[in-house]
């Protein structure tokens, strides 16, 4: 009982979040797991299919296309998001006039409904009337490049993901504030340049947090890219932005293959776990070396 009481004392603010997470994410995910091993069209009771769906995933060329696309988008978006968030955090961590407003501005897009900003981007990227097209044409770049070039379309999705870095900024501001001021005073006494301070002090001290955020962001990029890929690029051109979550959605809700969609989701989960494992391995190695 004492242990439970201690647990509640330490974690009571997190409990509602955990409960909702369990109810709205964990439970449905667990319930979807058996679907991956069944034929389920949503119209009849599921029939056991063994490993058929998973075998089919491996032989499905569109699955590999979607996986490749998702990884390529993540490869662009994760470093860019972290870089931008780090820059903003370093700019905004000091209490100065207007900093609160700017922090709120950085966070605001993250709390905007997804559909609202997706529609906004749809206008921004309009190949004739959007501001991006106008800017690009000034540099002699065809304004419809993301409609015809799959690689450009993926980069557009990565660009859109930069919009949602509010949480990263908040975490990095907190992490920056944790670095003792004495260390910076010492650097000042030693006459270190701003670049040296950043390279030798700030970056190493923030690195564990940055790596953890990279892990989280890599996993998250599989999910956050769903809506723009569905609404803005619609999986095109030439399947160039057919991302895994979009392919899962199509199979489940358009073609009524919920069993196969669950198998695809399971594969997506496995890939995400693998990505996190690799990054955690690096993180652990890095921290050991640092120690």
């Amino acid at each position: 009982m004492r242990r439970l009481r201690a647990l509640l004392r330490d974690w009571h603010w997190s409990l509602p979040g955990f409960a909702l997470l369990g109810l709205l994410v964990g439970l449905p995910a667990l319930m979807a797991l058996p679907l991956a091993f069944s034929h389920f069209d949503g119209l009849h009771a599921p029939r056991f299919a063994g490993l058929t769906n998973l075998a089919r995933v491996g032989a499905d060329p569109l699955f590999w296309t979607a996986l490749g696309n998702s990884l390529k988008v993540a490869l662009w978006s994760v470093p860019l998001r972290l870089l931008l968030a780090l820059g903003l955090a370093l700019l905004l961590h000091r209490p100065r006039r207007g900093a609160g407003l700017l922090r709120a501005a950085a966070l605001a897009p993250s709390v905007t409904p997804d559909i609202a900003w997706a529609l906004l981007w749809l206008w921004i990227l309009n190949p004739l009337y959007g501001p991006v097209a106008w800017l690009l044409s000034g540099f002699g770049i065809a304004p419809d490049i993301w409609l015809t070039d799959p690689a450009a379309a993926r980069r557009v999705l990565a660009l859109i993901s930069l919009w949602l870095i509010g949480e990263l900024v908040v975490v990095l501001i907190a992490a920056r504030k944790e670095i003792p001021q004495e260390l910076y005073d010492l650097c000042a006494v030693e006459g270190a340049s701003a670049w040296t301070v950043f390279r030798r002090l700030t970056l190493p001290m923030l690195m564990p947090v940055l790596l953890l955020l990279a892990c989280r962001d890599a996993a998250l990029s599989f999910q956050t890219s769903f809506l723009p890929a569905l609404i803005i690029t619609k999986g095109g051109p030439q399947y160039g932005t057919l991302l895994l979550p979009v392919y899962v959605y199509q199979n489940g809700f358009e073609y009524l293959r919920f069993g196969y969609a669950a198998a695809l989701a399971l594969a997506m989960f496995a890939v995400t776990l693998l990505m996190i494992a690799v990054q955690l391995f690096w993180l652990r190695r890095w921290t050991r070396r640092g120690a």
């Binding site: 439970l4 190949p127 419809d144 358009e254």
Partner: protein, 466 residues
């Protein structure tokens, strides 16, 4: 201990509230009856505001004449979202009693035994007489020889044209027997204009969505076919001679004559809105678009427009665009749902939707009545839709057809907007051959698998009978 309860109670209450909110299938909703004894039929439809308005009128008229029956409209904007919502509702075990399905999507549900056979049921109760309706629409909704859904409309692809632009540029208006290579292309060229001299066309001659359903009549018109067998397709046959000619004929609009919006322009503004703002001379669309144009007229943004038949290639042929009322096998109020369908398909019910402009009525008597052919309402040449009916062909209504079209449309859109291969003329159609072979190979496994499933399903009752 008390501390535990301090946290547990609010948490428990929150969970209980959440679970209660999630439990949508309990109580009266499960039976479709309200406390006052009303029978509530849920009807899910898709359409723009003009279309939904006409559904609301239909429901109001039905409820006024049927005390105790209530129809709850579940409106969805786009057909794709309508299908998503429908499949989610079925998967959750909470499907609407009635819903609208296009014949190209209905096989998905019919093959999986999710639909109640409305035709036999309502014919047996005397609520439906097949001979009162157009046969092409009925035929499209038969699955394994059973009429599963009852057709609400028998629309088809026609040419909407901007009469003001035709007059302004002195282009002769389309005649009933106009031809593709002569009259249509010539009109498209004359209508395509760069008005301000900025080397960008301000008005395009024709707008066509490069999708399989839109291209189909051109393929048929040149004597080609989409599949090897309409009722049991195992192969897409677009890579064969006449079909290739049909596809090349359409591609010329983009590559040779440049009379249709380019990809960037098409993505920036769809053909429907381009036509509505008067920047497109001709638009290939179905009857649904009439309701939108009439709505714009009501807002004072009307055009001077009319419709013409599809231009003739080698053969005169059209493509069916029919929707039907379907009932879920597990409908909670099947009798009330059938009463509503009976009313919606009656002369009174069909007249309401016909007056909105949304449908070409499936009931012959309404289609030939002033409700549809009202000379005071646009289009003046509404008879065009009726004249097209005997020439209509349709795509297969098999379970995987929607998926076939989805895969085909990705490839066809890319093909349509791409220039011809280097060193090739657009008339050679080398890129057309490549894309149709890609398409054939991409969808073949789907068709073969579906055919095997269908043959097994047909064999099972036969084996049972022996």
């Amino acid at each position: 201990m008390l501390a535990c309860w301090k946290y547990a109670l609010p948490l428990g209450a929150a969970l209980l509230l959440t679970l209660t909110a999630c439990n949508r299938s309990g109580g009266s909703a499960a039976t479709g009856a309200t406390a006052e004894g009303e029978r509530v039929v849920k009807l899910q439809v898709f359409g723009d505001t003009a279309e939904l308005k006409s559904y609301r009128e239909l429901i109001a008229a039905y409820e006024a004449g049927h005390p105790g029956d209530r129809v709850e409209l579940l409106p969805v904007g786009k057909q794709a979202d309508h299908m998503t919502k429908l499949s989610t509702a079925f998967a959750a075990g909470n499907p609407p009693d009635l819903f609208i399905l296009n014949f190209r999507r209905f096989g998905q549900f019919a093959a999986k035994d999710a639909l109640a056979p409305l035709g036999p049921q309502m014919s047996a109760s005397g609520q439906f007489k097949a001979e009162d309706f157009y046969e092409p629409a009925l035929e499209a909704f038969r699955f394994r020889d059973t009429l599963m859904c009852l057709p609400q409309n028998v629309s088809s692809l026609v040419v909407y044209y901007n009469r003001a632009l035709f007059k302004q540029f002195e282009v002769p208006e389309p005649k009933d027997d106009w031809t593709y290579f002569g009259d249509f292309l010539s009109a498209a060229k004359l209508l395509t204009r760069d008005l301000d001299g900025d080397k960008r066309n301000d008005i395009y001659g024709v707008g066509i969505d490069p999708t399989l359903i839109r291209l189909a009549p051109f393929i048929w018109g040149m004597g080609g076919s989409l599949v090897n067998d309409l009722y049991a397709p195992s192969l897409v046959t677009l890579d064969r001679g006449p079909a290739l000619l049909g596809l090349n004929a359409v591609k010329m609009l983009m590559t040779r004559y440049r009379v249709t919006p380019k990809l960037a322009e098409y993505q920036a503004e769809n053909n429907d809105s381009r036509f509505a703002r008067g920047a497109l001379g001709m638009l290939l669309q179905s009857r649904r678009y009439t309701a939108t144009l009439r709505e714009l007229e009501g807002q004072g943004k009307g055009l001077d427009w009319d419709v013409a038949p599809l231009p003739k290639l080698q053969k005169e042929v059209g493509v069916l665009h029919a929707d039907a009322y379907c009932m879920a096998r597990d409908a909670r109020q099947p009798e009330a749902a059938q009463r509503f369908v009976s009313y919606a398909l009656s002369e009174a019910g069909e007249s309401i939707l016909a007056r909105s402009g949304r449908t070409v009525p499936s009931r012959k008597s309404v289609a030939t009545s002033p409700a549809f052919l009202d000379p005071q309402q646009k289009p003046a040449r509404a008879q065009v839709f009726l004249d097209a009916i005997p020439k209509l062909k349709r795509t297969p209504n098999i379970a995987v057809w929607h998926e076939v079209e989805s895969k085909a449309d990705v490839l066809l859109e890319e093909w349509f907007y791409e220039p011809p291969l280097p060193g090739e003329s657009d008339l050679d159609g080398a890129d057309t051959l490549i894309v149709t072979r890609q398409l054939r190979d991409a969808v073949q496994p789907l068709l073969v698998e579906d055919l095997a499933r269908e043959q097994a399903a047909k064999a099972a009752p036969a084996a049972g009978a022996r």
